[in-house]
Symmetry: C2
Subunit: 101 residues, 2 copies
Amino acid sequence: MGPMDVALICRALGDSNRLQIVGMLTDGEKCACKLLERFDITQPTLSHHMKILVECGLVKVRRQGKWSHYSLDCETLGAFRAFMDGLSCKGEQKNGGCGCL
Amino acid sequence: MGPMDVALICRALGDSNRLQIVGMLTDGEKCACKLLERFDITQPTLSHHMKILVECGLVKVRRQGKWSHYSLDCETLGAFRAFMDGLSCKGEQKNGGCGCL
DNA sequence: CTATCGCATAGACAAATATCTATGTGAGGT
DNA sequence: ACCTCACATAGATATTTGTCTATGCGATAG
């Protein structure tokens, strides 16, 4: 997973509605109708958000009859977390080769 | 750290330039001039990006003389990662109380 | 004191985004 | 066959965002 993919996922998580949706999917898959109940948005707006979450790879969709069931893609989520964990933190330690002291 | 703060950080990381900047700060603080060398953007644009990174809490700034030295805020980064790690992944497992099967 | 250097701020602008209403589509029920 | 239900798509619109040029400001050098 490259920086471009990570940035795409971050943009997807950068909307509080979508972040909450991901949080709700934490305990297993949910249908769109169930998700819709929790937010003050219209159905097309939810559909738009879900499309963004699916397109960045964070969420999978399973269509069954009239319903769409959404769930987290564990593989993508894992890779994303791995990237973030790779951002080690050395704080202010050392001036990284700047001539400016 | 609440969902709003996390969403703010995600928006900040949702730009590939800013994500790369954070990556560069991984090995210690750097001055703005050093960061600027690595990107094809103007100085005011970099300043704009740094402001966003600072305002969301991910990056700290230390001004010394004419120079601004930027570094990661380990505390914020840690809290952010903790939030992400809290997004457990149960995948498709179970239908979360939807009436729709 | 004046000029320069490093960076921030202001303002402009095109592109992306979040939201809505209206409509399309495909599956099930009657 | 028809209607309804669950969701997607289309199009419109206001807001946000990334970038630029031009300018301001504090610190340092001469």
